[in-house]
């Protein structure tokens, strides 16, 4: 019995086909079977009216922390996959800084299997670069890729050892996966709590200078240039970092990079008053950095919007600032924040938004999707650009609600998320 779903009359925006117009989309047996102005659907197809809605290739978040195994009180693979679907995402890439870490094929395969069980957004595991995420010996990249890993990273920590980073960038080329790095030179401020500057000084908190990130970005770019490997730089937050990536791309270095929604709209002022819900790493920075990240997103220097979804239990954030962990949840606010504060403010158009949240994530990480071309995987996001809503962490499907956007009034929301031709979430 084949499954058939017809999305009728939506505004289909698919940059991969240079398409922006009212179309019908027919999904059959997990693939896009037809796309046209008037698709004749089989009688047994379920028709869903999408009039007035935006239909896009499924949104993909290449940077999430699902916390399982080891942090199930914060999030599980299943709750994270459901939160992703509720946020309009059809796929997420799960970071390996779990407990135990994902540094071997067994753990990678287990996460992939748990992700399939969730029957929500697809969960693609990312394996560690180093054994034990300890920053020393190279993890079994080939075996992890065979088990389903789509990239490698030691995220949560930088790869401090330049020799190891070189080896990773060389070795990963055999498997075609990107090497993702969290750029931060820890020697510059091992106990830093927020951006360095007057706000940190006033609060008596140890700062992290931009140079921590800048130095590491430059080093990684040099190593990517040396090796020809695919470097993926995570959550860029500094103006010099953006400029360094821009110049590297101009030289032809194989580098891709992320911007997170929070680094696009918040400055370090959000931390004032010791607001632990705005504590994250890299920290929120100065307005000039936010402006640069926005410019980098607009001109394509930053290819991808990724949330760095980092759930923490509420009582872990209910602590003195230096005792609170880094990170915020992002899956269920990303679409609203990006439409309201990035698209509707005129920084990028909707087509660019879809490129940064679907096409380029798929391309950079070699994932199915990022297109609605006939024959491609039937992962589709349906968004209502006019929906007005207020962020309420208690309503999240994520197990955590550590968001700095609580109470924000946003415009634009997902209404239906389709994975493999099945509706996995609708509002």
């Amino acid at each position: 019995m084949s499954e058939k779903l017809l999305l009728k009359g939506g505004r289909v925006l698919d940059p991969s086909q240079d398409l922006d117009g009212v179309r019908d989309v027919l999904l059959v047996d997990g693939v896009v079977a037809a796309l046209g102005e008037q698709v004749d659907a089989p009688e047994d197809a379920r028709a869903v009216d999408c009039t007035g809605l935006l239909v896009t290739p499924g949104l993909i978040d290449v940077h999430v922390h699902l916390r399982e195994p080891g942090g199930e009180h914060k999030e599980t693979i299943a709750s994270g996959a459901r939160a992703a679907a509720a946020g309009g995402f059809t796929a997420v890439c799960a970071m390996p800084n779990t407990d135990p870490v994902m540094d071997d094929p067994a753990s990678v395969g287990w996460v992939a299997a748990e992700g399939r069980k969730a029957q929500a957004a697809r969960v693609y595991p990312v394996g560690c670069i180093s054994v034990g995420r300890a920053g020393e010996g190279l993890a079994p990249v080939g075996e992890m890729v065979e088990a389903g890993a789509v990239a490698i990273t030691d995220d949560g920590s930088p790869v401090m050892n330049s020799g190891l980073m070189r080896l990773a960038l060389e070795y990963a080329q055999a498997f075609g996966v990107p090497v993702a790095d969290h750029p931060e030179d820890l020697t510059l401020s091992p106990s830093g709590q927020m951006n360095e500057g007057l706000v940190a000084t006033r609060l008596g908190l140890t700062g992290k200078p931009n140079a921590m990130e800048d130095i590491h970005i430059l080093r990684d770019i040099m190593l990517a240039e040396l090796t020809g490997g695919h470097l993926h730089l995570q959550h860029i937050s500094t103006r010099f970092g953006v400029e360094s990536i821009r110049q590297a791309k101009a030289r032809g270095v194989h580098v891709t990079a992320e911007a997170s929604p929070h680094h696009l709209v918040l400055t370090e002022d959000a931390v004032d008053g010791y607001r632990t819900e705005a504590k994250m790493n890299p920290p929120l920075r100065a307005q000039a950095d936010v402006d640069a990240v926005r410019a980098g997103l607009a001109d394509g220097t930053l290819d991808i919007i990724a949330t760095d979804h980092a759930p923490h239990h509420y009582d872990e954030k209910e602590a003195a600032f230096d005792d609170a962990p880094n990170g915020i949840v992002g899956l269920e606010t990303a679409v609203g924040i990006v439409i309201t504060r990035v698209v509707n403010e005129g920084l990028i158009d909707l087509r660019t938004m879809v490129e940064r949240m679907s096409c380029q994530p798929a391309r950079a990480f070699g994932l199915p999707g990022g297109t609605l071309a006939e024959g491609s995987v039937a992962d589709v996001s349906v968004l209502n650009l006019d929906a007005e809503w207020t962020v309420d962490g208690v309503a999240f499907l994520s197990k955590s609600r550590n968001t700095p956007f609580e109470g924000w009034k946003l415009t634009g929301a997902p209404v239906r998320t389709i994975v493999g031709g099945k509706i996995v979430w609708e509002c």
Binding site: L198, V199, T201, G204, L205, T206
Partner: protein, 323 residues
């Protein structure tokens, strides 16, 4: 002056947003309370029936004892909790500690904590008054207030004076509280010390920076010399205590070379021979023990005002009667 403008509100966690009038009100309230400590029977019933918890998560002698004397001389009932004998070492969170104290219906908490912002965290979660006795590297408001009172006692004013904070301002809660209060009262403020220990961005507040102690002494009317904590040397901020003393130590020779007399303060505890030489600490420039004496009066004033007392009633209050 409208008393509501002088009111400190519920808590004293920071001096950053405390007004000139409020600071002067605290200093003026402390004046009549000084005399209580000189009496044979050092006790007045101002805070009779008030329950105060002194919650010290970090070791402290001077500040804890000073608060305790202030509380007892005002007849409050006090309990001391030190981290090393408490549920904190059993893993209790700060918020749970706070809720449990609150459940016992206390009136005030005096807290020292190793985390910046801890006092504010507590103050936002419990209805009792919270007095910050030092939170991490953030603030130590009563220390700055007693510094101001001591300066005013000796020089008659704060406004227009040149006050230089010497040493590790980066990690110092005393420095931050002093900077805010001194600027609010119209003093000129400078910081002198190794560039590795200068707080980033602090110059944006209008603070002058000196790297040479000789220049700072030549400029200043008052030096407030901070303790150099030994762990700063291990952290690589300064190469050695010997070098620190050689370059930044406040010595008699350096004070004598100055064009005018300089008042020397130190919040204690001192490292004699490191940031300050014994000749200076024990010499005519030093008002270090006056600071300690004033500390009790300042803390009495803060306790009294937060308990609802009015500055103009302080003289009457110390003759008897409760808030």
């Amino acid at each position: 002056m409208n008393p509501s403008l002088l009111s400190l509100g519920k808590d004293l966690v920071s001096l950053e947003h405390v007004s000139r009038e409020q600071i002067l009100s605290i200093l003026d309230t402390a004046e009549p309370f000084k005399e209580i400590s000189e009496r044979r029977i050092k006790k007045v019933p101002v805070l009779r029936g008030k329950t105060i918890v002194n919650l010290f998560f970090e070791a402290s002698t001077r500040t804890r004892v000073s608060f305790e004397f202030a509380e007892k001389r005002l007849s409050a009932d006090t309990v001391n909790i030190a981290a090393s004998g408490s549920s904190v070492v059993k893993g209790e969170t700060l918020v749970d500690t706070a809720r449990n104290l609150e459940a016992m219906r206390i009136d005030m908490v005096v807290m020292r904590h190793g985390s910046s912002g801890a006092a504010r965290f507590l103050s936002e979660r419990i209805p009792s008054s919270v007095i910050n006795a030092g939170d991490g590297q953030h603030e130590h408001p009563t220390q700055a207030l007693l510094d101001l009172l001591t300066i005013r006692d000796h020089l008659g004013r704060i406004e227009g004076l040149k006050v230089c904070i010497v040493g590790d301002a980066l990690h110092s809660r005393v420095a931050r509280s002093n900077v805010y209060a001194l600027l609010t009262l119209g003093a000129e403020v400078a910081i002198c010390g190794p560039p590795t220990l200068m707080p980033p961005g602090i110059a944006d507040l209008g603070v002058t920076m000196f790297t040479r102690i000789e220049e700072a002494i030549e400029w200043a009317d008052v030096l407030n010399v901070l303790r150099l904590q030994l762990e700063r040397m291990h952290g690589g901020y300064v190469p050695s205590l010997r070098e620190y003393n050689r370059i930044w130590g406040v010595t008699t020779e350096r004070l004598e070379a100055a064009p005018k007399d300089v008042l020397v303060l130190h919040p204690g505890p001192m490292n004699r021979g490191v940031e300050i030489d014994s000749d200076v600490a024990d010499g005519p420039h030093s008002v270090i023990l006056n600071q300690v004496t004033n500390g009790v009066a300042i803390r009495m004033a803060v306790l009294y005002l937060l308990a609802g007392g009015q500055q103009e009633s302080a003289e009457a209050a110390k003759q008897g009667g409760e808030v």
